[in-house]
Amino acid sequence: MLQVRNLTKKFGSITAVNKISFEAKVGEVVGFLGPNGAGKTTTMRLVTGFLTPNEGKITISGLPPREAHHLVGYLPEDNPLYYQFTPLEYLRFIGEMNRLSQTRLEKRLDYVIRNFNIGQVLSQTIETLSRGFRQRVGLAATLIHDPKLVLMDEPTNGLDPNQQLEIRKIIKKLAKDKAVILSTHFLAEAKSVCDRVIIIHHGNIAAEEKLTNLKQKRQSLVKLFSKLTKE
C-alpha cells in the first residue's frame, strides 16, 4: 500500500528526516514513536504530500502522494477543523472534495455518523463541541471517503482516558481493510493498538519491530524506547 524509500527532508540546514525507509500494508497498524521533534509529523506531512521531500521516493498504491490524495485519510496534529461549520456541513465539504457521488456521500455520511456516534451534534457548530466530539468529527472526516491509507498524528492527544480508549477501539477496527499509521508518544497506546512500531529519533529510524517479536524476545517497549531515544 505505502512504500517509502530513502526519504530525506531538510529545512534550511536542519535535517528533519534523514534517509528513512519503511512500508505499510493493508490490515496493519504501524506506530511512529519518538520524542517531540523527532521527525514524526514531518514524515506524515511528506507521505500526505503536504511537504515535498528533498530526496527519496514515496508511493501509495503505485502513485506519488500528490496524485493519491483520494486514497489517503489524514488527521493532522491538533485536529484542525473549520469551527464555524456544523459537523454535517464539514463532512459534506470533505466528501464532495473527495469526489464522492451524491448517493455514495449519503451512504458514507450515514456510516461515519453512526460509527462515530455524532448524530446528536450534527447541527451544532464545531466550535461549541467538546474536545471528544471534535476528535470524533475529525476522524469521521478522515474516513468519509473510505481511504485505503489512514494517517493520524497523535490522535488521542488531549483526550481524557475514556475518550482515549474509545479512539483506540476505533483505530483497531479500522485496520481490517486499511493500512493505518499513527504517531504517538504514549507507549501504552502503541502497545494496545499497533502491530508494528517504528522508533524515530533525530530524523532517523532507530528501530523497527513487530510487537509480537518484542513479546517473544521478552523485551519491553518502554526500555527499548528510552534506550534508543536517550539524549
Binding site: 529545512f11 484542525p80 473549520y82 464532495e96 472534495m97 469526489r99
Partner: protein, 240 residues
C-alpha cells in the same frame, strides 16, 4: 484546472467566509452606508446629477475595506492549521487560490450592487452619461479584483490577519499616493509618467472618464495574474 473541486471550494468559501460569518454582513452594510452618505453629501454640494464623485471615492475607500475581507483568507487557515487539511485534499494550490479570489470578488461585487439605488436616483434627477457609468463600474470591478489579489497574497505570507491587513493597506496606500498629482508633480516628467502608469488609480481614472484603454486592461489583468501567481508560489514555499 479541476473545475469540480474549484466549484466545491468556491461554494465553501462563499458560505464559510461571507454567509455564516458576521464579517460579510458588517462589510456590506458599512460599505453601502458610507458610500451613500458620501455621495448624498456631494450631490447637494455640487448640484449635479453625476456619479463621478462616488467613483472618485472608491480607490481610497476600498483600500481600507477590501484588505479587511482578504486578511483572513489564508492567515486564518494557517493559524488554525486547516490549510494542512485543505492542501491534502484531492485538489491543487491553483484551485484553492482561485476559489478564494473568486469568492471574495463575487462578494465585493455584490456589496457594490448596493450602490445601484444611487444610479437610479441620478437617472431620475438628471440625464447622466450611461456609457461612462458602465465603464466606471467595469473600472471598479477591475480595481476590486486588483485589491483582492494583492490582499490574498499578503494573507498567504503570514499567520497573523492583522499583519496581512496592515501589509495590504501599506502597499495599496503607497500605490495610491504614487498616482496622485501632488506626488507626481515633484518628480521629473519621464519618471512621473512611468510611476503614474504603475499606479492603479491612473488606469482606473480612464474608466471613470468613459474610456477603456487596452493598456489599462492589460495592466489590471497582469496585476491580478501576478499576485495570484505569487500567492501560489507563497503556498508552495511551505517546504522551506
Amino acid at each position: 484546472m479541476d473545475k469540480k473541486s474549484l466549484l466545491t471550494l468556491f461554494k465553501k468559501e462563499v458560505y464559510y467566509n461571507y454567509l455564516i460569518s458576521p464579517l460579510g454582513y458588517i462589510f456590506a452594510a458599512l460599505f453601502s452606508v458610507i458610500s451613500i452618505w458620501l455621495f448624498i453629501q456631494d450631490l447637494f454640494l455640487i448640484n449635479q446629477a453625476s456619479l463621478s464623485p462616488l467613483f472618485s471615492l472608491f480607490p481610497f475607500l476600498l483600500l481600507f475595506f477590501l484588505p479587511a475581507i482578504t486578511m483572513n483568507l489564508f492567515a486564518e487557515e494557517k493559524k488554525s492549521k486547516t490549510w494542512e487539511i485543505l492542501l491534502t485534499l484531492p485538489t491543487g494550490e491553483k484551485e484553492i487560490v482561485l476559489s478564494k479570489f473568486l469568492s471574495a470578488l463575487v462578494f465585493a461585487i455584490f456589496s457594490m450592487l448596493m450602490t445601484i439605488p444611487l444610479v437610479v436616483v441620478v437617472g431620475i434627477l438628471g440625464t447622466p452619461d450611461w456609457g461612462t457609468i458602465i465603464s466606471s463600474y467595469l473600472g471598479v470591478i477591475l480595481l476590486i479584483a486588483c485589491y483582492i489579489s494583492l490582499g490574498i497574497f499578503f494573507s498567504s505570507l503570514t499567520k497573523n490577519p492583522i499583519v496581512s491587513f496592515l501589509g495590504s493597506i501599506s502597499f495599496l496606500l503607497v500605490n495610491f499616493f504614487l498616482g496622485q498629482e501632488n506626488t507626481l508633480s515633484r518628480l521629473p516628467v519621464f519618471l512621473a509618467k512611468i510611476i503614474s502608469y504603475l499606479g492603479l488609480t491612473f488606469h482606473y481614472n480612464s474608466f471613470t472618464q468613459g474610456r477603456i484603454p487596452i493598456y489599462s486592461l492589460v495592466f489590471f489583468v497582469s496585476w491580478i495574474f501576478i499576485f495570484l501567481w505569487l500567492t501560489i508560489v507563497s503556498l508552495k514555499s511551505r517546504d522551506y
